[in-house]
Amino acid sequence: MLPLTIFLGFIMTYSFVSTINISLREVFLGYLKEAPFVGFKNFISVLTSKDFWHSMKFSLIFGLLTTLVETTLGFLIAYFYYSYFKNSRFFLTLFILPMMMAPSLFGLMNRILFNNFIGLIPGYLYTFFGIDIDFFSNKNIIGTLVLIDVLQWTSFIVIILYAALMSVPVSFIEAARIDGASSKDILQRIIIPYITPSLITAAFLRFIESFRVFDTIYVLTGGGPGNLTTSVSIYIYKMGFSMGMQGIASAASLILFSIMLLPAFISVKMIIRRW
């Protein structure tokens, strides 16, 4: 355990220090040795960049939307499964399959599935319901991206909450029933309070992942049109690799890291307070 911890610690420290070094220089990809020291110039460029703040706004909206939908849906599915299929592993295994796929592959798959001309989903919607919808049109694209994220990652919430539900002491529930509590009372006063730390943990983890989404959006829209669907990760990638501005990309990464400490801090406080 110790050697692994030391190794991981070394990798993380080296990466972090290297990022700080690059962020303080004007670095073009491949020219690190010749890169002049520029102090906080890159940080100022990022903080005064409209594109950066737009990407942060998109990431925040996307993160909050997907977390809200996935947490709600995830809880409902987990509770339903807990109530009616407690001992069946088959459906749970089937349900978590999308999560096993690489996000970029899942994105590519949905690119075909939702294609207006050859996709199954628009095809069935039109054939059976007469609904003609282009999922990738400008007005629908954000909703489609949220939908694809929900399809892939709701199962993550389901697993965490299902495990939390299974850990609720049966004696509490039985005692409540004996005292005449309804199912609704049991849900509100025993189950939800008991699983709240897991709910917060699951929501926090999903928020972090959704906030820094990259793969799915990049394969579907490239962050466009314009910067409509540019998440902060795509912004950093564009700066660092498409434009070759490694100094700017590193500065943006460090700013993002600092900003993300806040939700981490809030979540930990909420979890500790609950316990």
Binding site: N116, F135, S137, N138, G224, G226, F241
Partner: protein, 432 residues
């Protein structure tokens, strides 16, 4: 006896391994790597075996290909001996490459613009293996009907007068300017013409992607525009650029393209065309054999025709894909021997017969029976071809343009402001 046999086998394998130099070559997955795989297999069995040089192809994924390769080169990795290059990234990668000195590629055989497109600051860095350009693809069956059917002609004239403010008559695509393109797009869009056999008049590739900007550049160049002025300064705030950007925007706003085009690239555009939903598109030359294959495109395979990009000055972006020698390779001699073989007409022909499109005029002209688009590629590249730039910032310029143009087309910003933003970003980039 058995031990002796095993020992001999081990010694033989070791000697063989020591005697063979393994050269690794990165390639771009798709028809290009499939064609190159055949050439490599032939080499490994024949010439390579004699010389003790074995070549292995490594395919990175197409998504993020350039980033992966550039990262390895930036790390000075000796793992790659032969690098995959393209015109638009050659300038950026040149610092990691060795110029191909001593390669006297015959300009009578290789198309001159292809050789130029693999050169940077006067030195040849890449051996061109594929040439890419664009065509206007259209439904020849429907075009023929439009040119001969009086009711259709009359409807065409009515629509052009109503939506373009001038009465236009249908013409063969080879004679088109952009008004003819727009008029035809409107005519073949069901929203405007209920009798249209196609849902949409055209399909554009409007995803935020550098390759889509290369297609848009055809429109810019055909309107007399370019990236750099006579003094060599980048200038995109020009009348042709404004007109070219507005053309796409108008076609999109009018609904002559599928609504999802802002996520479309090569594949999606092909699907729209080959499912019979769109009448025409500007598309890469590589699409030709897909659209004319009866197994892949059963609805349209025998109804596809190609024409030059419309005028007033028909133009097509041209770039070459090729191979170059990595500065960090520890097997340069062996790699150069393989590259020398690749530069021969024999190797190029083998490459073409297996799906590649080498910029070798005699081969392209002679293979017209198997690949009907080859003579057209040779003709269009020579007659209409242009290369935007091979400077180091080319890829970044394409990226800036893709961000701003897609914002213009979807009305996130007006055309003047969008072009000004692009201008400012590129000036900042070039100034660094």
């Amino acid at each position: 006896m058995r031990k002796l046999f095993l020992l001999s086998l081990v010694i033989f394998l070791v000697i063989t391994a020591i005697g063979v130099t393994k050269v690794t070559m990165v390639y771009w997955p798709g028809p290009e790597s499939e064609a190159m795989q055949k050439v490599v297999e032939w080499w490994n069995k024949t010439e390579g075996k004699k010389m003790g040089i074995e070549v292995e192809i490594i395919n990175f994924s197409r998504e993020g290909f350039w980033t992966k390769q550039e990262t390895m080169l930036a790390a000075h990795s000796p793992a790659i001996d032969i690098v995959f290059v393209a015109t638009y990234i050659l300038g950026r990668l040149a610092q990691h490459l060795v110029p191909l000195e001593g390669f006297n590629l015959n300009p009578d055989i290789f198309i001159a613009s292809a050789l130029e497109s693999m050169s940077y600051e006067g030195l040849l860095y890449g051996l061109p293996m594929d040439v890419s350009n664009h065509f206007l693809y259209y439904r020849k069956d429907l075009m023929e009907r439009l040119l001969t059917n009086e009711d259709w002609k009359k409807r065409y004239e009515e629509l052009s007068e109503k939506y373009l403010g001038k009465k236009l008559s249908p013409k063969p695509p080879e004679e088109w300017n952009w008004d003819d393109y727009k008029a035809t797009a409107i005519f073949f869009t069901k929203k405007y013409n209920k009798e249209s056999p196609t849902a949409y008049g055209n399909v554009l590739q409007m995803k935020n992607l550098v390759y889509n900007v290369m297609i848009w550049n055809d429109v810019l160049w055909s309107m007399g525009g370019k990236w750099f002025d006579e003094k060599g300064n980048f200038n995109i705030v020009t009348e042709p650029a404004e007109k070219a950007a507005l053309l796409y925007k108008e076609l999109y706003d009018m609904g002559t393209v599928p609504p999802g085009v802002t996520t479309y690239e090569f594949g999606e555009a092909n699907e729209a065309f080959k499912t019979g939903k769109a009448f025409m598109m500007i598309q890469w030359s590589a699409a030709y054999h897909i659209l004319t294959d009866p197994n892949i495109s059963p609805l349209v395979y025998d109804k596809v025709a190609i024409a030059p990009i419309p005028g007033p000055k028909p133009s097509t972006h041209v770039h070459s894909l090729g191979v170059a020698l990595s500065k960090y390779s520890k097997k340069k001699d062996a790699a150069l021997k393989f590259l020398a073989f690749l530069s021969t007409e024999e190797a190029m022909r083998m490459y073409a017969e297996n799906g590649g499109i080498p910029p070798v005029e005699p081969i392209l002209m002679s293979m017209g029976d198997k690949r009907p688009e080859f003579p057209k590629i040779a003709e269009h590249v020579k007659k209409y071809g242009f290369v935007e730039s091979t400077r180091g910032e080319t890829m970044s310029i394409l990226k800036v343009l893709s961000d701003e143009l897609t914002a213009i087309w979807t009305s996130q910003v007006n055309v003047k402001e969008g072009l000004m933003r692009a201008q400012k970003k590129v000036e900042e980039l070039i100034g660094r």
